[in-house]
Symmetry: none
Subunit: 407 residues, 2 copies
């Protein structure tokens, strides 16, 4: 079964709002095994909306229209759908009452425009969930001799999501007659390129291609490494879990050295988990990364319970590495100092060589000071400065992760 | 002139990546007066890509294809465009050399797949900017008897933006034959709501509506305040500058109290400028903002020349404010300590009350320690924790900005 998504609103085309709705809906459809081959953004224009929705109906079994259900004159999704259905609009007085009550409960008076939101194409039914003043619609329509359906949901993300989760996804599954369950798991990697991974996994991918299930897909996530997604289809949840688990084991044999986490686990989540499991606290000293490392760690560890804090700049800041002290020495000193200063089990320092200190620019010095052991490392990074420091941060997190994994 | 945007990649349809590229491109096109009526996401599928690009060519004068230029087998934008042009692909050895050099400079070896990135449709030309391993393409094509153009850019946002800004936008303007110059300036505000600003500017907007030029538009930018965009159209650059300058002066009379900067000036850029002009250095102490303030300041002041650095957590960290010391006292102490510790002219502290210390949750204590003067402030913020700390950071920057403006 195919479902196309049409995101409606001139503000989307003008880039005033990023269309995150289509992405979210696309993800939900994929998880229940429904294909979405096209997702189109179109402005608040009758002809272009009609053309887009008709084309979507022509090549898919269902269309989800997102947006254009508001109270103002440029919100015309109701009218366009009625035209495609070949019917008129009818005002639902019960919906007018609901909208009026919503306004009154907020101490406001409903303006006349809001009545338009209660105009429903004749033959359409209402989506029961209605978190805002715009009702969602299920509109049966005939196209190419087949019974198809247009859903209309508001562009406000939480309203759209409530209607998708409460009604539309179930309705689509029922219509598709699809019994199979589709699930996926992402293996997150750091340290190899997409083409490098593709080569290391070439034989496995070729083998899976002959099987057809599960499938593998790569996803470059820039600064966050490459994701390898395993997708499995089976009769039930349990069976997909088994297929995915078996495939993950195979992949860990092949590229386990670069896998740092799964699904939504960022590098800092993994590092903080490892610290927590070992009962270790951490303080950091940052040079040119300027607080980015601290910000990422504290984003996860809000209460600064495991990541105790750190020092930005100062002795490890923008100053040149002088003749007497190498970058490695400065990092080692800073790591020991910050460990002591914050009373942490571990002190981690990351500093960068400057262009004028005899070190290659782009060289990052990392040091982890522990109770007994000391670990130093360097890495050379490409990229402009804004990207450089983000690269440096993920590298130093990975440096820490690898040491922790061996403790 | 019309330009359609086609975002390519199955990962976009599956919601694994949100398509922010189309939004950004749509905004840039609007600024130079080019309409974008449709923006389509399509997967890595030859037939559907071809169908989508052909339809875009049919109803627009230019098409920007974003994505599908990578090294793997599913990156087929080059092949699809060649098919639409009715030509073959030719490997550009000079591009192979450039790609190889990029890999070598990072100490890596180019894999065979990357050679594919140098395959160019015959008759296409290369976009001079090439920040990554994927060359961008300008592909002349004939459709409906007209000379049209397909641009191909990588899906990596910074690579796409470099090519758009360096080549494509100029090329589109030249093709459009548009003689009028359209320019805009954004006035950035903090401290009033969109509806509040709309009320204060209502009479002015009504007046401009009768003139037609310049125009004003509001753009809510969440954490970064509300942008007020002045757009002017005139015969040349100089004339647009004069119109915009005159309008800016009028608006500053009306809402100057909340304008903190223009265009790309973030709050931290403005603050660092003010510090620089006054020859003052700054160090910061951060509690629950956990490094975000430091990261934002050092993002602009890479070399930590004006922003010397700071301290995250520790005494001002996640610990409860105890009975003996109020949040205001702790902030004052931390500001003085960090000023002294880093030898800075100014010490700025930002800490948050915890739910259990008798202060309302969401209360932020700010303190600026100077040579002679001391400034304290508090602000109560709404929002979940992730948003909370970003709100706290912009508030403390605005707190500092206002004090600096009076020095």
């Amino acid at each position: 079964m195919r479902c196309e998504i049409v995101a409606i609103g001139t503000e989307l085309l003008l880039g005033q709002i990023v269309d995150t709705n289509s992405s979210w809906i696309g993800e939900q459809l994929a998880l229940i095994g429904i294909d979405s081959h096209f997702q189109v953004k179109v402005g608040d224009n009758f002809d272009r909306m009609e053309q887009t929705i008709r084309q979507a109906l022509d090549r898919s079994d269902a269309v989800i229209c997102c947006g254009g259900l508001g109270p103002t004159q440029d919100d015309i999704t109701r009218e366009v759908i009625a035209a495609i259905m070949g019917v008129g609009l009818e005002r639902e007085e019960a919906v007018v009452d609901t909208i009026r009550e919503m306004f009154e409960s907020r101490g406001r008076v409903m303006v006349d425009n809001n009545r338009r939101q209660a105009d429903i194409p004749i033959g359409a039914s209402l989506i029961p969930q209605m978190p805002g003043t715009a009702p969602g619609l299920i509109c049966p329509v005939s196209a190419n001799g087949d019974d198809k359906v247009i859903y209309a949901v508001p562009g406000v993300p939480h309203e759209m999501r409530t209607m998708m989760g409460g009604t539309i996804l179930d309705d689509l599954r029922r219509r598709s007659g699809e019994e199979a369950v589709i699930r996926s798991r992402v293996l997150r990697t750091w340290g190899d390129s997409e083409s490098g991974l593709a080569e290391r996994l070439a034989a496995r991918i070729e083998h899976l291609d002959t099987l057809g299930n599960p499938t593998l897909a790569f996803q470059a996530s820039g600064m966050e490494g490459i994701k390898v997604r395993i997708t499995a289809k089976a009769a039930d949840e349990e069976a997909t879990t088994a297929i995915i688990g078996a495939e993950e084991a195979v992949l860990r044999e092949l590229i386990g050295d670069v896998i740092f986490g799964i699904d939504d686990q960022s590098m800092e989540v993994v590092v903080l988990d490892l610290l927590g499991q070992r009962g270790l606290s951490l303080a950091v000293a940052e040079g040119l990364t300027g607080g980015v490392l601290s910000a990422r760690l504290s984003e996860v560890d809000h209460d600064l319970a495991t990541f105790l804090g750190g020092r930005v700049g100062g002795d490890v800041g923008g100053k040149p590495v002088d003749q007497l002290r190498s970058g490695a020495d400065i990092a080692a000193e800073a790591a020991k100092d910050v460990r002591h200063d914050f009373g942490a089990n571990l002190g981690l320092a990351v500093i960068s060589a400057q262009a004028h200190d005899g070190q290659a620019p782009g060289t990052v010095f990392m040091h982890l000071a522990m109770d007994r052991a000391q670990h130093g490392g360097t890495v050379s990074l490409p990229g402009d400065r804004a990207r450089f420091r983000n690269y440096a941060v993920i590298n130093v997190l990975n440096f820490l992760r690898k040491i922790l994994a061996d403790i």
